[in-house]
């Protein structure tokens, strides 16, 4: 037996503990950042639209007596503004947690996200049925994050494919595109790190391989017994 083995095992364990602590810290930071984003979107989008409606309502009230025709036009504008505000609230709620994921599961939610993506995206999914909510959410946000990166961090992407399947007691996912990486953005890819941490917290793993013909993100999430 090699005398170095216990030392190596301890070093490995120490490194694993350090990585676990770093990962937990990143998970907390990502959660905080997400909360700040929600606060900012509520303030910048929904609240400002409601404020504008409140100002518009006071104006309409004043116009009723002096210029009824202008009051009607003002109320019509407010009706349009209400519909915009409703759409923004729907979009924000869907960003926080997509109703499709909650109601119909991973495949439908990923397929809907793929349909809405700016680049043609094909989803090749086995019938997965309903998985544990934490697995569905981790896989969904990983797919959507990788999908978003195809327009944010890559150039020349013309097609994207997403694969979802069950193998050996785990959910496997794969997001592949045919673009080139914009190298300057790579060190800041905090979102990918956050996605990896989310999946690592479930005992899974995410890898990314970058080649001359595209980028491939693969993930594996064990299903809870």
């Amino acid at each position: 037996m090699n005398d170095d083995q216990p030392t190596h095992a301890l070093e490995d364990l120490g490194a694993a503990i350090e990585e676990l602590a770093a990962s937990r810290s990143r998970v907390v930071r990502v959660a905080d950042a997400r909360s700040r984003t929600i606060e900012r979107r509520l303030h910048d989008e929904v609240q400002q639209q409601l404020v504008a409606l409140a100002v518009g309502a006071q104006l309409a009230r004043d116009l009723v007596a002096t210029d009824p025709r202008a009051a009607v036009s003002q109320l019509e504008q407010m009706g349009r503004d209400v519909r915009c505000a409703l759409e923004d609230v729907r979009a924000l709620a869907a960003w926080v947690y997509p109703p499709l994921l909650l109601d119909r599961g991973l495949v439908d939610a990923v397929t809907a996200a793929a349909s809405a993506h700016a680049i043609p995206t094909r989803v090749d999914a086995e019938p997965l049925g309903r998985l544990a909510p934490q697995v569905e959410a981790a896989a969904y946000f990983c797919c959507v994050g990788a999908l978003a990166n195809t327009t944010r961090r890559r150039a020349g992407v013309t097609r994207v494919s997403i694969v979802l399947r069950l193998r050996n007691g785990a959910l496997q996912l794969e997001v592949e595109d045919d673009g080139t990486v914009q190298a300057a953005d790579e060190p800041d890819d905090a979102e990918l790190v956050a996605l990896c941490d989310r999946i690592a917290a479930l005992g899974g793993k995410v890898d990314r391989s970058v080649g001359p013909t595209g980028t491939r993100v693969t993930g594996r999430i064990p299903l809870p017994s």
């Binding site: 409601l50 404020v51 100002v55 202008a70």
Partner: protein, 128 residues
């Protein structure tokens, strides 16, 4: 007399609401729109409006610092701070930046603006 107004807010819906309000209200003229505190200061110095409607929370120097600078560099301009904060949540420094008052954005109407501007005028006359 027409009250010349600059609105400073990085949120388009509020700027649009103010634009609409002032366009349909006698006695006001919107002379400029700014999307940052720095831009508001620049417009206040160059246009010397009677009133600046200034959002507190903006990128860059923010509304309170911009109000303080306008108070020094364009003393005839009255700044009214606006936001969606409850009064209890207003940041420190709001009372010492030279602004003539604060309005919740949803309370902005012609009567409030006239009242605050009249108060600013009478305060200035009192000092003069």
């Amino acid at each position: 007399m027409t009250i010349r107004v600059v609105v400073a807010d990085d949120q388009a819906p509020f700027r649009r609401a103010v634009r609409m309000l002032l366009a349909r209200t006698d006695g006001f003229e919107l002379v400029g729109e700014a999307m940052s505190g720095e831009e508001a200061v620049s417009l206040a110095v160059s246009l010397e409006p009677d009133l600046v409607l200034m959002d507190i929370r903006m990128r860059g120097i923010g509304g309170i610092e911009a109000a303080r600078t306008i108070h020094h560099r364009s003393p005839c301009t009255a700044t009214v701070l606006v936001s969606t904060y409850r009064a209890a949540d207003l940041p420190a420094g709001i009372h010492a930046c030279g602004a003539v008052g604060y309005l919740h954005k949803s309370d902005v109407d012609a009567a409030s603006l006239r009242r605050l501007y009249a108060a600013a005028l009478s305060r200035r006359r009192g000092r003069g």
